[in-house]
Amino acid sequence: MDNPFNDRLRPAPSHDSQPYWDGLKEHRLLLQTCADCGTVRHYPRPVCDQCYSMRVEWIEASGHATIHSWTISHHAFHPCFKKDLPLTLVTADLAEGVRLCAPLKDAPPGSLRIGAPLRVGFETVDDDLTLPLLILADTP
């Protein structure tokens, strides 16, 4: 397929976010924390809004999360997602206090509710890109 519009939308990592994307490639969800006051922040950015420090450390998230909200998209807003319809997208509260927005895979109909426990998974797209995904925690 030569049509570039069927290609995946790819991130353009910045100096601030590169460790996040590198972590995903190793199937690790890394979160930025302030090296001075320890506040976790997401999405990655240069300054801590609590103490204004620009010193950064990265921690690995536990992978525990709960549903904050969700939508089920029946329209492909980009051609590369046509094959995934209907697409369940979940905003999840991570145990670390920030949120992750990712597709939820293999959710039985009617199983979605606020607070439902989730775990974080990974989808290896190719050598250059791995994306996060979410799975209902009680799914075998």
Partner: protein, 383 residues
């Protein structure tokens, strides 16, 4: 503290025909609307000494200097807040006027939202969407409809809001559009038709989403003093404010995703105006999606958080309801002119030029803008 209360007035309004297929360039649409607004104000293009063009559009102040032969433009600025930009532009205009920099500021909007670049396509190109462009678009969270669907879902789960209540908003605005000759949608809609419309991003259906349309609309803002002696009855701006939400670049990271930036603007705008909610005779509320209307009604304080569904039921926001809203049909049924059509409609209502949708005796009205994932603006005006 100094206040902008009644320091500025809308002295001219202009609109093109709203269509699906203008056959004109976006610059031409902006010029046509601007010339109409300037003529409405009783001015000539050379009287314009300030311009606030639409920040996400393709018209810049230079286009107006060139086309109108403006010899000494003294003020130009942009207010990049998506659908909240027009009212933010009015605030910038009044600041420039009150500061003695400009006398008559033009705010021209226009685009080919239907026949040109679609609204969804523009999102990926804007710097304020760099964050969701990097972290959310690759996982499939691409369009505002999907994010607003998650906001609406959260509201439904927390407060019991229903899709039928969202339908009431769409149906009411369609009724209003049928009274308006310059509205794109010309057939009635029922709640059942809304419920049968295609699911876009659950819980939002096709009829929860605004139109994509072609057209232009423009305002002239002048100082309150000179406005008294101009061609039209001046419509005074009593209160005006902009509000930026927490985590403005990522709805998913926002502490409470059921509160918009609007909530921050509301106390400033009402405080400046010195009026209460009971004083508002008519409201034109930015309606990119039905849910965003419901959420703003709460953030504006017309009802408590969670009570928006009940507020819009049983014709609550119709011409005969407790608060007539979007008397022109709104973005949902008149046209998507980035909310400039809402401001033009409020001015018409306060001039008594509301036609078949005129709210009898309207003296004080409110208009909102909303955009870029949560920015909100509020203006309160009187005749």
């Amino acid at each position: 503290m100094k206040s902008l209360c009644e320091k500025g007035a809308v002295t001219g309004i202009g609109e093109t025909a709203y269509t699906k297929g203008s056959g004109k360039s976006t610059i031409a649409l902006q010029m046509e609307a601007a010339l109409a607004a300037i003529a409405d104000a009783g001015l000539t293009p050379k009287d314009i000494d300030g311009i606030v063009p639409y920040s996400s559009g393709d018209g810049v102040a230079e286009d107006f200097i060139t086309n109108f032969g403006i010899a000494d433009l003294r003020f130009s600025a942009t207010t990049p807040m998506g659908g909240a930009s027009a009212i933010a532009g009015i605030q910038a205009a009044i600041l420039a006027i009150e500061g003695g920099v400009a006398r008559h500021v033009l705010i021209p909007f226009g685009r080919n939202g239907y026949s040109g670049g679609r609204i969804g396509a523009r999102v990926q190109q804007l710097p304020q969407f760099r964050t969701i462009g990097e972290f959310e678009m690759p996982v499939g969270q691409i369009a505002p409809a999907q994010l607003y669907a998650q906001m609406a879902r959260r509201h439904m789960m927390q407060y019991g809001t229903t899709s039928r209540q969202l339908a009431e908003i769409a149906v009411t605005f369609r009724q209003h559009a049928l009274l308006n000759d310059n509205a794109i949608m010309k057939t009635p809609m029922t709640v059942e038709q809304h419920q049968e419309s295609r699911m876009i991003s659950d819980p939002l259906r096709l009829f929860d989403c605004c139109l994509e349309s072609d057209g232009g609309a423009a305002l002239v803002i002048s100082g309150a003093g000179p406005a008294k002696d101009m061609k039209q009855r001046p419509i005074y701006i009593m209160g005006i404010a902009e509000g930026h939400p927490d985590q403005p670049s990522a709805i998913t990271q926002r502490g409470d995703m059921t509160i918009l930036g609007t909530a921050k603007a509301v106390p400033h705008a009402f405080g400046m105006a010195g009026v209460s909610h009971d004083d508002i005779d008519v409201a034109e509320i930015y309606d990119c999606f039905t849910y965003i209307v419901l959420c703003q009604l709460e953030d504006l304080g017309f009802c408590a958080k969670g009570e928006g569904g009940a507020f819009v039921e049983n014709g609550g926001i119709s011409l005969t309801g407790r608060l007539p809203v979007n008397t022109h049909g709104g973005l949902l049924s008149q046209a998507h002119i980035i909310g400039m059509n809402h401001i033009v409609e409020l001015v018409k209502q306060l001039r008594g030029d509301g036609g078949k949708a005129q709210v009898a005796g309207a003296r004080i009205g409110l208009v909102t803008g909303y955009g870029d994932m949560g920015d909100g603006t509020v203006a309160i005006m009187r005749n």
